[in-house]
Subunit: 328 residues, 2 copies
DNA sequence: CGGGGATGTGTCAACGTCAACATATGTCAT
DNA sequence: ATGACATATGTTGACGTTGACACATCCCCG
């Protein structure tokens, strides 16, 4: 900066003013400084800036893994929005297998330069643990609930699951079987809860949900069990990967979808429309989730009225894996 | 730090020595300082550190989107490895539609605090553009070729594609049709090139490759065209998503896989094993790619002998979408 | 035509850390 | 006993930036 100042024949402070577009600077002076900056290839040093200002213009994201469709889609959206808002993103992966690591992640985040944190973790994982959140560190959680004590943004899981089940019911099915997500996920819990609630409201029998873990493998295994029960005509899987597994199990057992059994997923992964049969599913707006999470966090940073919680609506996408209840 | 020093009755420098485990510190003193740090909840300020040392212990990743399977898997691996090595990751998404943005991304990266950059972009996109890479900034590219002038790490695309095609040939197919990836991808280019080379080596007819763009939709459209040609008995799709589309097209047209046509993909996405039929594909070790890229970059940072290029081997996973050539 | 405000620019100090240097004590081989 | 060297701790200054403050002009209004 000093070099630029010398080159332009002004003081360092004036250079700073030009760079930050703050305060009064004469047009001619601004010109000179801009030219000098270009000539010297000057770039402000962010470390010094952060040191001086105490703000990093950086958001941290804590996550276990990018593998689930929702996670990387959400991260993508967070990244876009953060960039748009002039923030950089710092990624801190934590090892899901070890609870203690979560603390490590927070510590490191604090050590590193972030102004706020977005937590992209099945929040159950956090509940019990004695996480040391840096005091005063703004936080927004994705996939959480009130208990965690931080603002959160999430898909409206209940509404999505409800829509899926009601769609099947409207097709005349006498009940809907469920392939559930893992118990440590609030999303899974909420979807299961809504599924049960809809059936109960209609006075319909509620079968034991099939346990799953989001993976196609677990869906396949659940599908094999469901295939063995001839009374099954409608299945709501808590995500698309498990629905894919269910589809395979039915194919393998010679059960036609949707002729004999209807299947609904949740996510609307890009391939869902190109499965055989194309999968009816619940589309989630991960873009919206990511965007809102960033906005909420930045609002908190700026001292604006913080949001408390926010639910993003879902949309039923009807494809060819669902049909009127057949006589099986 | 001053507070800690006072609390422990030592100088700031001694605190620094304890924190960094550098130089001589008496056991008793170390004890006192550690205790004081814990009591006061002291964390070193990374901005000041970076300002002082000129290093940020941060790696930047430039990418367009996380959507393709390989990208988020690789990013996941990069993140793990970087964390392991004590580096933080900074994410800079760029808008693929606008070439100019790429420059913006680099600028911002330079402004921000990174010691080196991993480029996770279809490198063709970069080739022509007048990208201003900060002079002296260490770079590692994933998915590139020599032309780009930087070290790179990549899947051994040629070997993978070759294996896929040879597998089909070994099953007795008289030629193999190809659904190609988009022209701006080196990966796609190399897979196509290897496919062609194998056929030519065997003196077999080479059909026009079907254009695709990695999406299941493009695979579906290509599949529809292939389905119309009764001479087609073997298809090599340049990725799994397109293979999924091909599978759907064949199902829809009443062509049995693998009874009438064999299909091979590339990626081994998690769901590939649970498609119907389970997909024969080429497994890529994204973990390895991410790991090597980080290692290469850190080596460069440390002034070690830089790598030039590195290819990661792939593995053929035979499932049920391929079978001996039938009489169709 | 005097003074108050808007405009334009410079000086200085401080953010938290650590390398370099200075100092001090103790140990050991000669 | 003497110096050479290892061990242990403190002092100082600089990294690059910007907020606070000071000091000029200049213009407009009463």
């Amino acid at each position: 900066m000093e070099d630029v100042a010398r080159e332009a024949g002004v003081s360092g402070q004036t250079v700073s003013r030009v760079v930050n577009d703050r305060g009064y600077v004469g047009a001619a002076t601004r010109e000179k400084v801009t030219a000098a900056m270009a000539r010297l290839g000057y770039r402000p040093n962010s470390a010094a800036r952060a040191l001086r200002s105490g703000r990093f213009r950086t958001l941290g994201v804590i996550m276990f893994t990018l593998a689930p469709y929702g996670n990387h889609r959400t991260l993508d959206a967070i990244a876009s929005r953060a960039t748009e808002a002039g923030y950089t993103l710092t990624l801190i992966p934590v090892d899901a297998s070890n609870r203690a690591t979560v603390n490590g992640a927070f510590s490191r985040l604090e050590e590193h330069a972030v102004d706020g944190i977005i937590i992209l973790i099945e929040a159950h994982e956090l509940d019990g643990s004695e996480i040391e959140i840096p005091p005063g560190m703004p936080i927004v959680v994705i996939d959480s609930n009130k208990r965690f004590g931080h603002p959160f943004v999430d898909i409206d899981q209940a509404q999505g699951a409800r829509t899926a089940v009601e769609h099947l019911l409207a097709l005349g099915h006498e009940t809907v079987h469920h392939v559930a997500g893992p118990p440590e996920s609030y999303a899974a819990e909420r979807r299961q809860h809504a599924w049960r609630a809809v059936l109960e409201e209609h006075g319909l029998p509620v079968s034991e949900p099939q346990p799953g873990d989001w993976s196609a493998r677990s869906g396949y295994e659940a599908g094999l069990r469901l295939a063995a029960d001839p009374s099954v005509t409608a299945v709501f899987a808590a995500n698309d990967a498990m629905a894919i597994g269910v589809l395979r199990a039915f194919h393998e057992q010679g059960i036609a979808v949707p002729a004999q059994v209807s299947v609904v997923g949740f996510d609307d992964v890009p391939d869902a429309a190109y499965l055989w049969p194309p999968l009816t599913t619940i589309r989630q707006s991960f873009d919206e989730v990511g965007r809102r999470a960033v906005d909420a966090l930045i609002a908190e940073l700026d001292g604006d009225e913080p949001i408390d919680q926010e639910f993003i609506a879902t949309e039923l996408i009807v494809r060819e894996s669902t049909a009127k209840k057949p006589t099986r």
